[in-house]
């Protein structure tokens, strides 16, 4: 709660900058319109105009705010025009993808840490896999999954997983290798099995890395879900809103979807942060 004042200050500052930027970016359009009508604008008219355009380059905060209010509070949540509905659609794919990505990432990391064959051969390809632009192959993935009868949530979640498992692998490999030599030696003296060493030593010591990876992973997951929403025919979800907004030049709609997505990501990152604090505290590490 003591965060409120700093956050509000920063947000306030941001909004001021935003209004300023809106004037700067939208001014040309306002002047053009005026020129066509053979008028010249006073400064206050210019400002007023830049903050109220229909299709601004950068919508003013209150325009986005109004749109958000309009599409979240004023609409039934089950309505297709409700942003809450679309956020939910995106969230479910993100969440599923994130869970799968975390599981896959952790499993791979465990494999890499415990198995030299995997360490030597898989890691470089995991990296290479991440350089493939998903936007290029997402449609193919969707098509292939469709062909084998998978559609709906799962294809999106798989793309989301594809993006989120990587930060988890990188972080967890490091984390699982972070116990120092003495701690590992101790485990050796007790002839702990690989599994026990993992469970009682490597995993607990990897926790700080784990949570950091999760935060990055969940953000990546969201990007994946949104990307995945486009080739599914852009039917529903924040990705579809972004696209539709872009095809009809509805900047206000784009921005409200964008802010909603960011809010979703921030909420998830915040939640993970909370779990992190609680866990590390219980583990006596914070």
């Amino acid at each position: 709660m003591r965060n409120i004042i700093p956050v509000l200050t920063v947000v306030g500052l941001l909004i001021v900058v935003w209004y300023g930027a809106a004037v700067a970016l939208n001014a040309q359009w306002a002047r053009d319109v005026a020129a066509r009508a053979d008028k010249t604008l006073t400064f206050s008219e210019l400002v007023a105009d830049t903050w109220s355009q229909d299709k601004p380059k950068l919508p003013a905060p209150h325009q986005v705010g109004a749109e958000l209010w309009e599409t979240t509070v004023m609409k039934k949540v089950t309505s297709k025009r409700s942003l809450v509905y679309h956020t939910w659609v995106t969230f479910s794919a993100t969440f599923l993808g994130f869970v799968m990505g975390t599981a896959l990432g952790t499993l791979l990391a465990v494999g890499i840490v415990f198995n030299r064959t995997m360490d030597m051969s898989v890691m470089p390809w995991v990296i290479a896999s991440q350089t493939i632009p998903i936007l290029a192959i997402a449609p193919m993935i969707i098509v292939v999954l469709n062909a084998v009868g998978l559609s709906g949530l799962l294809p999106k979640a798989i793309i989301s997983m594809y993006l989120s498992f990587f930060p988890v692998v990188v972080g967890m490999v490091k984390g699982l290798r972070s116990p120092d030599q003495m701690q590992l030696d101790q485990m050796r003296t007790w002839h702990a099995s690989g599994w026990q060493t993992f469970w009682k030593l490597r995993l607990p010591s990897s926790m700080p890395y784990f949570f950091t990876s999760l935060k990055v992973g969940v953000a990546a997951s969201l990007v994946g879900a949104i990307v995945g929403e486009m080739p599914t025919g852009a039917v529903a979800g924040l990705g579809a809103r972004l696209l539709a907004g872009s095809y009809y030049g509805q900047t206000v709609q784009i921005w409200s979807a964008l802010l909603m997505a960011a809010a979703l990501a921030a909420a998830m990152v915040g939640l993970i942060g909370l779990i992190q604090r609680l866990t590390l505290k219980r583990m006596g590490m914070a």
């Binding site: 701690q183 007790w190 002839h191 702990a192 607990p204 006596g284 590490m285």
Partner: protein
């Protein structure tokens, strides 16, 4: 001593570390027999290879020459059959486990039933005088208390061989005396074989049936002293002439080791 069955035997042991500025010869041509029920102390200047030797016995370090057998088998097999308990030079407690949890750790790993775990934890905590600290986290304990917790952990699972690397280094004289006595009692009662690194000459003499004096660079055995003291040792024994004589001999050995440095 009283039992000629060889528990630990090292022959022509050699160990060289490769480091960024050249090799370090940590152990050279080390030969030693430890019999069942022996209490062997290792003493020697810092850096002479005591820890390294203990680590070789525990299969934590691979010798570059010669060999070691524990109960007639390789250190690896001995380790796998959980033949020994090891107390490290630094406490090395897991920060995310309480003291109790740390002591329970090897028990969990060895699959000892839960009820027995609790009971054993209580027993060893008492032994090292830490009852009541079970729920504290390591960083809430003083250095000496951490060290004692780590001793408790090694004792908890009752291995036949104990390898202890300066377990009492961070303890005051009174606790140290107390733990020395406790350790001797435990040893007498259970017939364990103990390899014990220490820097204290009186401690080495008081505890051991055999004292191994080592000298550094390269680490090797300078002297092996069989103690003529009886197995039954009240604290007062430390004032007897026999005791002082052995202590003197150890000190001479040590000094010699330092001399050729």
């Amino acid at each position: 001593m009283n039992d000629s069955q060889s528990v630990i035997s090292a022959s022509n042991l050699d160990l060289t570390f490769q480091t960024n500025d050249g090799p370090v010869h940590a152990l050279k041509d080390v030969n030693l027999e430890i019999h069942k029920g022996d209490f062997v102390s290792f003493i020697g200047p810092s850096g002479c290879g005591k820890t390294t030797f203990l680590r070789v016995m525990a299969d934590l370090e691979q010798p570059t020459g010669g060999q070691v057998t524990i109960n007639g088998v390789s250190p690896e097999e001995a380790r796998k059959s959980r033949a020994y308990g090891y107390v490290f030079q630094a406490a090395g407690l897991y920060p995310w486990r309480t003291i109790g949890g740390n002591i329970r750790l090897p028990l969990e790993i060895m699959g000892i039933p839960r009820a027995e775990q609790a009971e054993r934890v209580q027993r060893v905590l008492e032994l090292v005088e830490l009852s009541g600290f079970e729920k504290k986290f390591p960083w809430q304990l003083s250095g000496g208390m951490q060290q004692r917790a780590s001793i408790a952990r090694a004792l908890s699972f009752d291995a036949d061989i104990l390898l202890m690397d300066e377990p009492f280094g961070a303890l005051d004289e009174i606790v140290r005396d107390h733990l020395n006595e406790q350790l001797l009692k435990l040893w007498a009662r259970t017939e364990k074989t103990i390899a014990f690194v220490t820097h204290s000459i009186p401690e080495a003499v008081y505890l051991s049936t055999k004292i191994v004096v080592m000298s550094p660079r390269p680490g090797r055995i300078a002297d092996v002293i069989e103690s003529p003291l009886p197995r039954e040792r009240p604290l007062e024994i430390r004032e007897t002439p026999e005791f002082l004589e052995i202590a003197h001999r150890v000190r001479e050995g040590l000094r010699a080791g330092h001399g050729d440095d």
